[in-house]
Point group: D5
Amino acid sequence: MLFAVRMDVVLPLDLDPGLRDELLATEKAYSQKLQREGKWLHLWRVVGEYSNLSVFDVSDNGELHDLLWNLPLFKYMSVSVTPLAQHPSALAG
Amino acid sequence: MLFAVRMDVVLPLDLDPGLRDELLATEKAYSQKLQREGKWLHLWRVVGEYSNLSVFDVSDNGELHDLLWNLPLFKYMSVSVTPLAQHPSALAG
Amino acid sequence: MLFAVRMDVVLPLDLDPGLRDELLATEKAYSQKLQREGKWLHLWRVVGEYSNLSVFDVSDNGELHDLLWNLPLFKYMSVSVTPLAQHPSALAG
Amino acid sequence: MLFAVRMDVVLPLDLDPGLRDELLATEKAYSQKLQREGKWLHLWRVVGEYSNLSVFDVSDNGELHDLLWNLPLFKYMSVSVTPLAQHPSALAG
Amino acid sequence: MLFAVRMDVVLPLDLDPGLRDELLATEKAYSQKLQREGKWLHLWRVVGEYSNLSVFDVSDNGELHDLLWNLPLFKYMSVSVTPLAQHPSALAG
Amino acid sequence: MLFAVRMDVVLPLDLDPGLRDELLATEKAYSQKLQREGKWLHLWRVVGEYSNLSVFDVSDNGELHDLLWNLPLFKYMSVSVTPLAQHPSALAG
Amino acid sequence: MLFAVRMDVVLPLDLDPGLRDELLATEKAYSQKLQREGKWLHLWRVVGEYSNLSVFDVSDNGELHDLLWNLPLFKYMSVSVTPLAQHPSALAG
Amino acid sequence: MLFAVRMDVVLPLDLDPGLRDELLATEKAYSQKLQREGKWLHLWRVVGEYSNLSVFDVSDNGELHDLLWNLPLFKYMSVSVTPLAQHPSALAG
Amino acid sequence: MLFAVRMDVVLPLDLDPGLRDELLATEKAYSQKLQREGKWLHLWRVVGEYSNLSVFDVSDNGELHDLLWNLPLFKYMSVSVTPLAQHPSALAG
Amino acid sequence: MLFAVRMDVVLPLDLDPGLRDELLATEKAYSQKLQREGKWLHLWRVVGEYSNLSVFDVSDNGELHDLLWNLPLFKYMSVSVTPLAQHPSALAG
C-alpha cells in the first residue's frame, strides 16, 4: 500500500555540529535500511529546499506512522502524508 | 531528469457523456504511450480525489512542458510541478 | 484501518429538483449500506455547513478510493482524506 | 453533544527530558480518565504528525473548553474545534 | 450556549428580481422570528461586505445546525461557526 | 459604533509565573473597567483556544486603537478588527 | 474617520457591452460625487489589476457601509475594509 | 510615482527598553524627515495592530527600496509593496 | 525600471475557436511589438501551466499599468506585479 | 535550461556582526562567480524585502540543487523554484 510523504526539515541554527553530523548519519542509515527492506520505495530531494518527496510501501497506516515517528530527524520535520491508489491508466499494477 | 507533477481534474458538470468518454480514452492512450516510452515514470491516483501524483523523466523543462500542455484533459486540469534531484541518502542512483 | 474523510458538497443551484431528490436518496442508500457493512464507521454533519466528517474502516487505500469514487454525489464534492493510526493514550485498541 | 477536535503538538526542542516524560504521563492519565468517563469519545493519531483527531461528547461548550484548557500539554498545542450534529443518513442516533 | 456565526452571501448575478425580493423578505421574517425567540441573539452587518456576524443562543449543536440549514438563503451562503464559552474576565455571566 | 475584535494570545513558554499572574490580573482589571464603562460590550472565550471574540462600542477608530494598544497583554497578542454596522434585518437598533 | 478600502472587480465575461458602459459611467459619476464631497478621499488604481485602493473619510461605520453597498459595481466586487487611525509619527493630524 | 506600503512590526519581547526607545525615536525622526521631503506621503496606523499603511511618492523602484531598506526598524518588519497608478475615475491627477 | 509580472490565463471552456485563435494572434502580436520596443524584456512560460513569468522595463507605474490593461487577454488573466531593484551583488547594472 | 528562483532571507537578530559581514561577503563572491560563469543569469532585489528574484541557467535539476544548497546564506533562506520553458510568443530563443 503506497503513500506519498513530503518531509520538510528545519534544523536549529545553533545545533551542535557534532550532534548534527551524528543525527544525519543515523538518519541516513535508518533511511537506507528501510529502502533495502522495500518499505521506503522512493526518496527524492526537492530542488532548492531541505525537503524530500518520498513514497512508502507499507502494510497499513500504523506501520507508516511508526516508520515516520521513529525518524531520527522527526522532531525537526514537518511531514505531510498523501494516500495513493492504483490509477486506472497506469501500466504498472 | 525527474519532476513530480500533481494534476487535479475538474470536468464540467454538463460535459456531454460521449465527449467525456472519448476524452478519457484519448487521455489514457496518451498517458500509456508516455509510460511505455519511459517518460511518464509513475502514475498514482490520490485517494478520494479526481487527481493524480506523477513522476516524469524528461530531458529538459521544455520537453516536460510540451508533454503536459498536450494532455487531452489539460484544459480541465490544474497542474503543479516540483523539480526533483538525487537525494544523498537514496540507494538508487 | 481507519481514515478520517471530510466531504464538502456543492450542488449546482439549477439542479433539477427531481434529479436532486433521486441523487440524495441514492446517496443515503449507498451510505447506509456501507455503514451496515461496518466500512463507513462514523458519519457526522458539520454544524452549519453542507459537509460531513466521516471515519472509514477499510482494508487498504484502494478500497477507500473505490468507496469514495463511487459516491453518487462524488462529482459535487470536494473530499479530503486523513490516515489515522492507534493513539498511544487511547483506551480502545 | 459531539465536537471534533484536532490537536497539533509542538514541544520545545530543549524541553527537559524528565519534565517531558512527566508531562506525557500526566497527559495520558488525564486523557484516559476522560475516555473512561465517556467524555473523550475517540482519540486517533494523525499518521506522520504529532497530532491527534478526537471526538468529545460533552454537555455544552463551556464543559468542552474547560476540558481542553486543562490539558497538561495545552500550552504546547494548537487546537481547532468543529461542532458536529446528527447526519440525516447516519444509522446511529 | 453561544456560537458566533459568520455568513457570507453570494446571490447569482442572474437571479430573477422578483424571486430575489421574495427570498430576502422570507429571510428577514425568518431571522426576526428567531431574534424574537431569543435564539438569534445578535445580528450585525460586516462593513462593505454582503455578510453578517451573528451570535446564536441555542440548547445544543443540533438545534444550531437546524436553524442555519433552514435559512432561506442557506444555499447562497458560506457559513462558519465558532463555539463560544464564558470568558473569565467577562462581567456578564 | 461597533467593532468585532478577535484576540489570539501567545504567552512565552518561559514567562516568569509571578509576572504572568500580575499581567493577567492587570489585563482582567483593565478589561472589566472598559466593560463597566460600556466600551467593551461583549467578551467571549473561543472554545479550545487562548483567544477571545469581543465587541467594542467606541466613538471612533482612534479610540478603539488606543483601547487595544494599551491592553496589558497587547505585545503577546495578534489582533484582528472587523467594523460592524446596523443589519437591515436586526430588531435591535 | 479614515478607512482603507480595497475593491477587486470581476465583470461577467458575457456582460452586455451597452450595460457595461452604462454601469461604468454610473460608477464614475457616483465615485466623483463622493470625491467632491470629501468622503472618498483617495482613489488609486492597483497596477496590473482591475482593482483600486481607496481611502474614505466618513463619520461612522454605518456611513461607510452605505457608501460601499450603493456602489453601482458592488455586486461585481469583493471589498475589504481596514480601519485607520492617527499614526504617532505622522506629521499630518 | 506612488506605492502603497504596509509595514508590520514585531519587536523581540526581550528587546532592551533603552535600545527600544532609541530605535523608536530614530524611526520617528527618519519617517518625519521623509514626510517633510514629500516622499512619505501618507502614514496611517492600522487599528489594533503594530502596523502602518503608507503611501510613498518616489522617482523609481530603486529609490523606494533604499528608503525602506534604511528604516531603523527594517529588520523587525515585514513589508509588502503595491505599485499604484492614476485611476480613471479619480479627480486628483 | 523593472517589474516582474506573472500572468495566469483561464480561457472560458466554451470560447468560440475562431475567436480564440484571433485573440491569441492579437496577443502574440501585441507582446512581440512590446518586446521589440524593449519594454517587455523577458517572457517565459511557466512549465505545466497556462501562465508566464515576465519582466517589464518601463518608465513608471502608469506605463506598466497601461501595457497590462491593454493586453488582449487581460480579462481572462489574473496578474501579479513585483517591483524590482538593483541587487547589490548583481554584476549587471 | 532556465529556472526562476525566489530567495527570502531571515538573518537571526542576534547574529554576530563580524560573522554577518563575512557571510555577506562570501555570499556576494559566490553569487558573482556564478554570474560570471553564466549560470546565475539574472539577480534582482525585490523592492522593500530582504529577498531576490533570480533566473538560473543550468544543465539539469541536480546542478541547480547543488548551486542553491551551497549558497553561504542557504540555512537562513526559504527558497522556491519555478521551472521555465520557451514561450511561443517570445522573440528570444
